[in-house]
Amino acid sequence: MTMMKKLLTSAVASTLMASGAQAAISNDTVKIGYLADMSGTYRDLAGPNGQSALEMAIADFGGSVKGKKIEIVSADDRNSPDTSSSTVRRWVENENVDMVAGMVASSVSIAVSKILEENDKLGIISGSAASSITNEHCTPNHIHYVYDTYPLANGTASAVVKEGGKTWYLLTADYAFGHSLESDVRRVVEANGGEVVGAIRHPFPTQDFSSFVLQAQASGADVVGLANAGADTTNAITTASEFGVTQSGQTLAALLLFLTDVHALGAQTAQGIQLTTGWYWDMNEETREWSDRFMDKTGVRPTMVHAGIYSSTIQYLKAVEATGSDDAQTVRKQMMDTPINDMFAKNGKIRIDGRMVHDMYLAEVKTPAESKNEWDLYKILRTIPAEESYRPLSESKCKLVKN
């Protein structure tokens, strides 16, 4: 009998909670789970410093929202969709996490967004690159905030093709992100009258690129495109310079480079490389001011991912405050209705497919002579307006978009 009673009470209680969720903050706490690569190859571009950015956002917001406390839990995703899935499942099913932030490897984000959809919680992805995250893998439960492979290809590949790099050979990281970037680059190169003459899918991660670089040289293509990230890209660039790729008349195009990668390579090795970025710390007074505070806390300059984590968390908390709710759909709708104007983006807008569209920048790595200090690394060549940057909704395969 007691058993029956218990069951009934909990059934009633959960119905009440479910119906009350729209207009209240569940458990009197807004709980944010920070999931990122904390120890592996993508650690520096997000990692523990991304958590610092998240903490800065909460502190700047005042530490509470509508009088309710804000809590953070964090976990290392180990770049593994399996590990991440079980972590996030535990978070949302047992530990009342309302929003998951961070997320780097695209395979992780795609796996996690499915779990968030099942449980109707919100995810704000700042680290991942695959444009498929808001295309065929879109869900009503996540937002993709900082950048994706579509503008990376649009910005860098179209600039290189226009400078005469007509034939391309691609070195692609063999997983979701690399494949997505490769197909976006193909589209841009071909649309601009160029041709992809060959591509190699290399294991992730790869330390020794000499064999692949040699094949790229033998192809005779104008451009060797690197559709990979992190240590894979820096290793490939180092090996390419050792094997004289640029001396033999080929251009090297790195499609995804983070500030931390360029910093690791140094201006001497990386000078002249063009790249597309969603944000740079030294763009204006606002970005510098925030970056100085970030540097005081972490000792390094922020990447676009760090800045995106800060900005998106503030936007999220504002939406929770405005609606008085931490329900995923309520908050997401509020975030979609509010243009983003802060140090990260001007007139940024979250679309129905979850893509946050904002201006992107084509940058070039400075020469050692131009670079005044170790973090003074980019000069911005061109602003790519938001509407040119991202995949238009008319081409979308997202289930939420009616075409």
């Binding site: 120890s39 520096d44 294991p203 094949q215 820096t234 050792e242 033999s248 390579l265």
Partner: protein
Amino acid sequence: MSMIFGVPLAVLSGQLLIGIINGAFYALLSLGLAVIFGLLKIINFAHGAMYMLGAMVTVLMFNALGVNYWVALFMAPLLVGAFGVVIEYFLLRRIAGQDHIYSLLLTFGVALIIQGVLINWFGVSGLRYTMPDMFKGGINLGFMFMPYYRAWVIVAALLVCFGTWFVIEKTKLGAYLRAGTEDSQLMQGFGINVPLLISLTYGFGVALAAFAGVLAAPIYSVTPVMGSTTLIVVFAVVVIGGMGSIGGAIITGILMGVIEGLTKTFYPPASSAVIFLVMVLVLMFRPSGLFGKEA
């Protein structure tokens, strides 16, 4: 141009050469493991961490004190080797004679601690190390562009491999060493300081890993995680060669480099798996390894 399986001969020759270069790295790393296992029966899972330390020490000595490449080539193995002696003296000695699994777990733990601490200090993006000026550039071999540095890697690695093999298999010191690990009480009765010999052997094996680390510093991103992926491959090489076989480790190292290089040409996605495939086959048909003694 003549083609082999759809690949131009020139490209194939280049890939073979690259395979030999990478194989020289594998040989050097698996040699240290084989020395440590063959003589001390320790499964040294800290070997990757020691390789990484060799590279890190090279970069840090350069950044802090301006120590050049040639000095680092001696100093880094010496320092890391001394660190290895400390680990042997304070940790490994306490579990001597226990089952292999103890040394495996202990050294694995040591490796994780070293790696974790360095990640906290330096991050994972990698430290910069500039190629020494005399190695900049390369020579066009007709079928490929051969950077001078890669040629030096083959020479240095093979010299050290051959030297080590010679000392252990052909000299009196090597004979003491082999006898000391076979029957330490008897050797001590002859007045030989066996514990010291064991410490030094572990230190030497570790120094070989550090030497490979110095060789790697100018061409790979020097990061705290660089050893962990390499370690697994190198263990597979040692298993294929036959645990503890010193000549076997060297020959298998080079052979695996070539097989991996060819896979990178014909079917790149399999290149990270091919060595393990060979390992499975070898374990199925010749469980003691290609060059191991039948148990």
